[in-house]
């Protein structure tokens, strides 16, 4: 058997083998279009090799022409496959260039079957014998098809396309792919064009060896794909390594993780997640079962977050309580993300849960302590003004007593003045209400409970405190003045706490007037708008001012300059105001000091 027959047959066999390996790969992963293009190129090369072998071994001009005509079909398809490979593998741009080239080549294929004997010859006159691999093979001589220039131009365009693709891949740092794949594709085109020029324009006698070049290109492409497969395998190994690390980290951090396939509605919870939600390790779980464990009060919010994340936002964070089968309550914070496909449809969600029961307990304990301290602070403030309070409550009680005694005396008259007596009774009723209003105010201040944020009318809050302190101010000869502009907006806060802060600041102001006699003794409370979003309330006294040595320590707990103070007033006040989202600070004036704080305007 001749060597040419052996080599060409082996080319065909090798290419078919490669196609047989890669075609199933594509079948299982339809996204791998480059693999499909490669398989197609390998099959075309096999077909091309067989047609070319028939040409080389042709004994008559007619047989040669027949083989050449059919060879143009796999050649055209091969070029199509190569263009496809370049497009998918090298991620080349210039699609229009590839489409133009392939269209021209397909046009030339039509001409191949329609005009003359083939795309190459209108009429084959005779066969020449030329040497190849130490034997004589056939080569035709005849009238060339003038339309062949279209096919050659298509190859030229493809060459430009491959060059462009190589440059692009190079610029994207895919250097090996650019040189190997791009380079071999380009070289294949250059070689084809060179042979076409030599044979069909200069009349050179070179036998057809397209298959050899095509094999080279297919081999390079195959190598590139296999290298990718190897790399993918390595990535899988690395990925599973990472996953194990992530699992380890999640375990160490007591994180329960899950992945949920939204399309299929399946859920893959980690072991820790099952533990957190109180499920056994072999229970089948879905999202609904998880939701059922969430505390009834939190469930709606929990579902809302999930569906919101699925609809648009992608990421979500949520805090909720779980009720475990044994009735135990567990606080969980969950962090998750929803992945979307290219069309914006939710694909899957992933996330992690962590048990924050201990933290929550600490937070609540802290809150309780803070409320206790605030309560103690209020009680001590009330102690300071208790004399004033007794005075204020005895005022209406005294009036009631005197009225009742007067009425009793009037009744002893022979003809009692009933009008007078009914006026007395009406006054007694009013004073009784006045007394109970005082008691209500005190009780509200001493209330020991949770913070109730409401919309507060600045004027009435300030007015209540002023009313409470006014007797004390009078007894200490302090003019307590209130300035509230008419257009002051309502603020958001806890009435009791805000009043406590005001009480503190005003009492401090009055304390600072101790021993001041050379100037008016005054404490002025002023409210004003500070920008559109907050109201500033200031308490200014005409007292001693703040000793420069203490300015920095004023708000420290247990810091006091008073003989009987516990040093918590300003510290608690600042805590309260900051919890309200405001600021509390102090500044010295030319005479006396000003304490200012801000509160957010109620929306």
């Amino acid at each position: 058997m001749s060597l040419v027959t052996v080599v060409w047959s082996m080319i065909a066999a090798a290419c078919l083998t490669l196609a047989a390996v890669h075609l199933p790969v594509w079948w299982r992963n339809r996204e791998a279009r480059a693999t499909l293009a490669f398989s197609l190129a390998a099959i075309c090369t096999a077909a091309l090799a067989m047609c070319e072998l028939a040409m080389l071994k042709a004994s008559t001009p007619a047989a040669y022409a027949e083989a050449q005509r059919w060879m143009n079909l796999p050649v055209a398809l091969l070029l199509l496959a190569l263009a496809g490979f370049a497009h998918h593998y090298l991620d080349a741009g210039l699609r229009w260039l590839a489409i133009t080239a392939i269209s021209l080549r397909l046009l030339s294929l039509v001409i191949n079957f329609a005009v003359g004997e083939s795309g190459n010859f209108l009429h084959t006159v005779s066969l020449h014998a030329v040497p190849l691999l130490g034997e004589q093979v056939s080569m035709a001589v005849g009238v060339r098809n003038p339309w062949r220039v279209i096919g050659q131009f298509a190859v030229f365009l493809l060459m430009l396309y491959f060059i462009a693709a190589s440059v692009r891949a190079w610029r994207r740092s895919r250097r090996v792919a650019a040189v190997l794949v791009g380079g071999s594709l380009t070289f294949f085109m250059v070689a084809s064009l060179a042979r076409a020029f030599v044979v069909s324009w200069w009349g050179g006698e070179v036998p057809s060896t397209v298959s050899l070049f095509a094999l080279g290109v297919v081999a390079v492409m195959g190598y590139a794909l296999s290298a990718d497969l190897l790399r993918a395998k390595q990535l899988v190994v690395e990925l599973s390594e990472r996953e194990r690390e992530a699992d380890l980290a999640a375990d160490a951090a007591s994180l329960g993780t899950w992945t949920s396939d939204i399309v299929r509605g399946t859920l893959q919870p980690s072991k820790k997640l099952r533990e957190l939600f109180g499920f056994a390790s072999d229970d089948r779980l879905d999202a609904e079962q998880l939701a059922q464990r969430v505390h009834v009060d939190d469930r709606a919010a929990f579902r809302d977050r999930l569906s919101q994340a699925a609809r648009r936002r992608g990421e979500y964070q949520s805090e909720f309580r779980l009720v475990l089968p044994d009735g135990q309550l567990r606080w969980i914070t969950a962090l998750g993300r929803v992945d979307f496909d290219a069309k914006g449809k939710p694909l899957r969600s992933r996330g992690a849960c962590i048990d924050i029961t201990a933290r929550k307990a600490a937070e609540q304990e802290m809150l309780r302590l803070r409320q206790d301290i605030a309560h103690v602070g209020r009680v001590s403030v009330m102690g300071q003004i208790s004399a004033a309070l007794a005075h204020e409550i005895n005022q209406p009680l005294g009036a009631i007593l005197r009225n009742a005694e007067a009425a009793a005396l009037f009744m002893q008259h022979e003809s009692p003045d009933l009008q007078e007596i009914s006026a007395i009774l009406e006054d007694i009723r009013k004073d009784d209400q006045r007394a109970s209003a005082v008691i209500d105010r005190i009780r509200a201040l001493l209330r020991h409970g949770e913070v109730a944020m409401t919309t507060l009318n600045v004027r009435s809050v300030l007015g209540d405190v002023a009313t409470l302190l006014w007797p004390d101010a009078a007894a200490r000869h302090v003019a307590l003045e209130l300035t509230v502009p008419g257009d002051i907006p309502a603020v958001r806060g806890d009435q009791v706490q805000v009043q406590q802060v005001l009480l503190n600041l005003i009492l401090n102001g009055m304390d600072s007037l101790e021993g001041v006699s050379d100037r008016p003794r005054s404490v002025t409370v002023t409210a004003r708008c500070e920008g559109p979003a907050s109201v500033e309330i200031s308490v200014t006294d005409s007292g001693r001012g703040i000793d420069a040595r203490y300015v920095g320590r004023l708000f420290e707990p247990f810091f006091t300059t008073k003989a009987k103070g516990i040093g918590m007033g300003l510290s608690i006040s600042r805590g309260i105001i900051e919890a309200h989202g405001g600021r509390l600070w102090a500044e010295n004036q030319a005479v006396g000091a000003t304490f200012r704080f801000t509160l957010p305007v109620a929306s």
């Binding site: 004399a387 004033a388 005895n394 005022q395 005294g398 009036a399 007593l401 005197r402 009225n403 007067a406």
Partner: protein, 205 residues
């Protein structure tokens, strides 16, 4: 006799009203004032009465009112009322010569008794004052020389000694003595001594 008036000063309108009703029902004449300034503006101190005033009031408090009254020639007795009596203000008020210091919720009997006592004291002070005024008018009629003689007489000196001291004749001293006795309408030296003391004039003591 002019009727005594109880002046009630309190910024708490309701208490003011109740207090005046009780006083009227108990047979007192009462007048009310809603501030210390209003009361001081009325200048009622020349008529008999007493003041019942709230210790704590804005602007001028009870203690200020008491101090202002102290500067007038005929101060009315002041009775303090307060919602709540703390030690410091009680001490200050009593030191200022307060007639009494009561809580507003004090029993009626205690309160009315205090008012009666204050009015009685005012009455007594007024009588003492008018008696003293009369004495002073009598002493005012005595001439400068007679006053010198009187001084010596009250020291228990004899006519002869006085004449020697003043460098005048003994008979002249006798004339002066007779004139003094007539002007002050007393008969004995003992009565003269007592009268001088009652007049409260330091020069004669």
């Amino acid at each position: 006799m002019v009727e005594s008036i109880v002046h009630v000063v309190d910024d708490d309108e309701s208490f003011l009203m109740a207090m005046s009703r009780l006083l009227r029902a108990s047979g007192f004449a009462a007048r009310t004032y809603s501030s210390a300034r209003e009361f001081l503006g009325e200048r009622c101190a020349d008529k008999p009465g007493c003041v019942v005033v709230d210790l704590r009031m804005p602007d001028l408090g009870g203690l200020d009112l008491q101090a202002a009254l102290g500067h007038t020639p005929y101060p009315l007795p002041v009775l303090f009322l307060t919602g709540h009596a703390d030690t410091a203000s009680t001490v200050r008020a009593m030191r200022g010569g307060a007639e009494d210091f009561l809580e507003k919720t004090a029993a009626k009997e205690v309160l009315l008794e205090a008012v009666r006592r204050a009015l009685a004291r005012d009455q007594q002070e007024r009588e003492e004052r008018s008696h003293r005024d009369e004495l002073r008018a009598r002493f005012a009629a005595i001439s400068a020389r007679e006053r010198e003689v009187l001084c010596h007489v009250l020291r228990g000196r004899l006519n002869k000694q006085i004449a020697g001291d003043l460098g005048i004749h003994e008979r002249t001293v006798k004339v002066h003595r007779k004139s003094i006795m007539t002007k002050l309408s007393v008969r004995s030296v003992a009565a003269l001594a007592q009268l001088s003391q009652e007049a409260g004039l330091p020069a004669y003591s």
